[in-house]
């Protein structure tokens, strides 16, 4: 019998009913609900007079539509108050565990769920949010869905899914000093394209991945959807088990040992075959930043903004032309030195404790440049408290950063927190789409260290030059 991939093992163990042609009714082990799609799904379910089938497998927290202002409540951003209160009421009525503002557990769904041990290797996990792929960093089969599918999962604890193709991205070598998991995945998206992963479940493997810490793996998997793949994963290992041990919703005691034995079986067999395999050397990666309005429009920090003539085809030429015009950039010039107005450190890509430490290490003892507004938005209440316990909040505040309350904030700008039109921002988030951070906002995606360095310089800089 041919070997199985990590994906095969998890998929096959969750098939409730095989429907033919690669379709299956798939059991969902964990369902995360937030104040946009979660509230919408719960309302839709109530409208159909259906109960939540397995509320004990659902976890809710407000993140998208709540203010990140210090001292905020669910009403501070008036435009999101009905969604916040709706989530509270509907989750409570359905006996779904909810982590409210100010409580440990509240935060961006893809930050709080791993940190509470809700996400586990070999589990299936969904959320009405495309960055659900983040959770694959712990070896879960995690993917984003729309609000109709949210309703389906609430009603039946299953989803109708078509088996994707499999891709393995193998990384030899190791990351050089000054580069991070963010640079690695931006490099991959730039090389392969924003649609390379469409229709695939991606597994990241190889020595460079084994060397990554769990929070770095979460960052890596977070941008799988920016590669087009709705699922991205890393096989669990000892680091995964150690990281999960003693987390509130992870198994405890004898059950933990039993779970760990199972987790040890979750890897791609040596003779497993993938539909596509790609090889990278992590040592080739330098600090990487986006220049355009698609996450595939990336460049090495020490490179030149590309010429439109170099685009692969006519459709990309048009997209590159539009992107340069929107971003206010010229082909053939260095990106280093471009003046910036804003820095945003946060989002489900890069708002965990290690991200804040990396940024703080750059910031310590320096000042944010004149004319730059710089924000740090921790990913969760627990991250915020842990960072404060280490004094990181003071490092940022002393330098002139704003230290804010946990949530999605300016990554998706659903809570009224926007970058002004034509302002240039270096952001640790995952999307540089037209208008994503506010109408006309010009977003450059980069690692936390690169964003911190830009805040100090008032311009895009190579963090290695500091």
């Amino acid at each position: 019998m041919p070997g199985k991939t990590l994906f095969d093992k998890i998929w096959e163990s969750h098939v409730v009913t095989n429907l033919g042609d690669g379709w299956a009714l798939l059991h969902i082990d964990r369902h995360l609900l937030h104040d946009l799609s979660g509230t919408a799904g719960l309302y839709e379910l109530a409208g159909r007079s259906l109960p939540v089938r397995n509320p004990e497998l659902c976890f809710a927290t407000p993140d998208h539509a709540v203010s990140s202002a210090p001292g905020r409540t669910g009403d501070t951003f008036a435009g999101g108050a009905h969604l916040y209160h709706g989530l509270l009421q509907l989750a409570t009525r359905s006996s779904i565990r909810l982590f409210d503002l100010g409580e440990p557990g509240q935060g961006i769904v893809h930050v709080m769920a791993p940190e509470l041990g809700i996400v586990q290797p070999g589990a299936t996990l969904v959320c009405g949010d495309s960055h659900t792929c983040t959770n694959g960093g712990l070896g879960a089969l995690a993917f984003g869905i729309g609000s109709s599918e949210v309703t389906h999962a609430l009603a039946t604890q299953t989803l109708l899914q078509q088996r994707p193709k499999t891709m393995r991205i193998w990384f030899d070598g190791k990351l050089a000093s000054g580069t991070a998991a963010k640079d690695l995945i931006l490099h991959v998206i730039g090389q392969l394209g924003a649609d390379a992963g469409t229709g695939y479940a991606v597994e990241y493997a190889g020595p460079a991945i084994r060397a990554l810490e769990i929070e770095e793996r979460l960052t890596l998997c977070n941008l799988s959807i920016e590669l087009g793949a709705k699922m991205g994963m890393v096989a669990p290992d000892d680091k995964t088990a150690q990281w999960l041990a003693d987390r509130p919703y992870a198994p405890q005691g004898a059950l933990f040992e039993r779970a760990r034995e199972y987790w040890n079986s979750l890897f791609s067999d040596a003779d497993a075959s993938f539909d596509r395999e790609v090889l990278f050397d992590a040592g080739d990666v330098v600090p990487t930043i986006t220049w355009g309005t698609s996450p595939e429009q990336v460049m090495p920090i020490d490179g030149l903004i590309p010429a439109i003539a170099d685009a692969p085809d006519e459709r990309h030429r048009q997209a590159w032309h539009d992107a340069l015009a929107y971003m206010g950039l010229e082909s053939g010039r260095p990106i280093v030195g471009a003046r910036i107005d804003w820095v945003f450190i946060g989002s489900c890509a890069n708002s965990r404790l290690t991200d804040l430490r990396a940024a703080a290490a750059v910031v310590r003892g320096h000042q944010v440049a004149d004319g730059v507004t710089a924000w740090v938005v921790p990913g969760s209440e627990s991250v915020k408290r842990a960072a404060q316990a280490e004094g990181l909040d003071l490092v940022f505040r002393d330098a002139g950063f704003e230290w804010r309350e946990p949530g999605c904030s300016m990554c998706v700008a659903a809570n009224g927190e926007q970058i002004p039109p034509q302002a240039r921002v270096v952001s640790t988030s995952n999307r540089n789409f037209v208008g994503r951070q506010g109408p006309g906002a010009r977003t450059h995606l980069a690692s936390p260290a690169m964003a911190a360095a830009a805040a100090l310089a008032g311009a895009i800089v190579d963090v290695r030059s500091l």
Partner: protein, 213 residues
């Protein structure tokens, strides 16, 4: 859900790669606005100028393509955010079918949930369609025969999953279909509680995060 059989009409070419769902509908339009009001906000960054007036160069603002039921697109149409409002916004503009080189996976699923037909054709076929559609002559999409007929009569076949095709043709509701399989779900969960008790135990014990934080 409305049944989908055949869609005929003007096909508006928006031949860009990687049109994301943020561009299709801005997130703040989804903060409580009813689904049927989203159409006028579809593609707003491309469709309107800063002063709020229409951008005349945008294809769906041009006289022949206003209200076009078919949109022609490049690769990876609907990539990015999972927001289902992107489908509602297209629907609200009158679009019933998108023909693209490829689609974002989540967006494609959302289309099927709402009766908007996503048709995938190779770049060469889209070149023909987008060139000929500029004349404003109708394109015909037939889900029964799985064909797209270009303005000058060239016919392109497309693949579509039988399960999805069947659901569209009959206007089936996924949730109602799955609820018919409740016995399978019960049986699966009973087995899983035995083989993976850790998936079920810690969460049913009503642990609180404070307990070990």
């Amino acid at each position: 859900m409305e049944k989908v059989l055949k869609i005929t009409g003007a096909a508006a070419p928006l031949m860009l790669a990687n049109v994301d769902t943020d561009v299709i509908i801005r997130i703040e339009r989804l903060m409580g606005m009813p689904k049927d009001q989203l159409g006028r906000h579809a593609f707003e960054a491309l469709r309107y100028r800063e002063d709020g007036s229409e951008e005349p160069l945008f294809v769906l603002n041009q006289p022949g393509f206003r209200g076009a039921p078919i949109l022609l697109a490049g690769a990876n149409f609907g990539c990015g955010s999972s927001r289902e409002g992107a489908v509602s916004a297209l629907w609200g503009m009158g679009i019933r079918c998108v023909i693209a080189e490829s689609f974002g996976d989540i967006f494609r699923n959302n289309c099927f949930q709402n009766g908007l037909l996503p048709v995938q054709l190779p770049p060469a076929a889209l070149d023909v369609l987008s060139r000929e559609a500029m004349t404003g002559v109708s394109v015909a999409v037939d889900l029964v025969s799985q064909t797209v007929t270009a303005p000058r009569g060239q016919v392109f076949s497309f693949e579509i999953d039988p399960l999805r095709r069947d659901a569209l043709l009959k206007g089936l509701d996924d949730i109602a279909q799955t609820m018919l399989r409740e016995a399978d779900i019960i049986a699966w969960q009973r087995r899983d509680r035995e083989s993976r008790p850790w998936i079920w135990e810690p969460v049913s014990g009503h642990a609180r995060p404070e307990a070990s934080a």
